[in-house]
Amino acid sequence: MSSKEKKTPSSTSPCAQLRAAYHDCFNRWYSEKFMKGQWDKDECANHWQKYRDCLSQHLEDKHLRRFLEAESGQIDGAATGRNIRE
């Protein structure tokens, strides 16, 4: 079913600010801790949770349901069964 989807500018996304806050936290943690051997603590868990909650609320707006359905087959690392070699 093809739908006309508008190009939503990222700056007007309802979760844009929470996303930016999460990214700032993540980038800092990634270079200053994670890359230096400190992976025993997930420091951005709070920022992530707030951002994630916002995404869940706006599920319909962003057609996220289809992403989440696809994503549930991805995290365990198993191939989704697509045969790309014929």
Partner: protein, 185 residues
């Protein structure tokens, strides 16, 4: 019929810096002017395995992929949704990203795998990026009769976007390098 190709690039920067740059590629505002095909990026899930240190991330990418009018008439839209899964193993210093389209699946299957590993000849200072892309037009789809043409155009577009992506990565790496040595650009 599948069209597949591989690209390799060496960044003269350490793996830690290159992978940091990869995270910033779609997100930093300055890059959006160059990587115009990326409309939106959201993180859907992330898991940090505290014992192994591995970080698993899933992101949703919305990509603007305009084709010529004859493709647009069939496909009906310019927007493609993709899911990117990433695994980073900081202990072994490896990063692997897999991106697949989840919309337009009745027409096309695209899969891109990217790996970042320390360069075997200079593991502390250089990083190898290996990128493998495959495009498959679904045999019974309305695009099947011009599959070869469509695959060719897709490949050209991907190569263009990869080149832009690499330029952006190099720029970010230089910025991070300067930042690390206390020079402000």
């Amino acid at each position: 019929m599948v069209k597949a190709y591989t690209q390799e690039h060496v960044y003269k920067h350490p793996w830690e810096r290159v992978t940091s740059a990869s995270w910033r590629k779609y997100v930093d505002p300055e890059n959006k002017r160059i990587l115009t095909h990326i409309v939106e990026v959201d993180t859907l899930d992330r898991k940090l395995d505290l014992s192994s240190g591995k970080l698993y991330t899933t992101r949703a990418l919305t990509i603007h992929a305009p084709g010529p009018w004859f493709i647009r008439r069939i496909v009906g839209q310019d927007i493609c949704h993709c899911v990117e899964s990433t695994i980073i193993d900081p202990k072994s210093r490896s990063m692997e990203l897999t991106t697949r389209n989840i919309s337009l699946q009745k027409f096309v299957e695209v899969e891109e795998k990217i790996r970042y590993d320390p360069h075997p000849k200079n593991p502390n200072a250089w990083t190898v990026c290996k990128q493998q892309t495959s495009i498959r037009i679904k045999p019974l789809s309305a695009l099947a009769s011009m599959a070869e043409k469509v695959e060719q155009r897709c490949a050209e577009r991907f190569l263009q976007n990869s080149a832009k992506g690499r330029d952006v990565m190099e720029r970010i790496c230089k910025y991070l390098e300067a930042e690390a040595s206390g020079i402000s650009l």
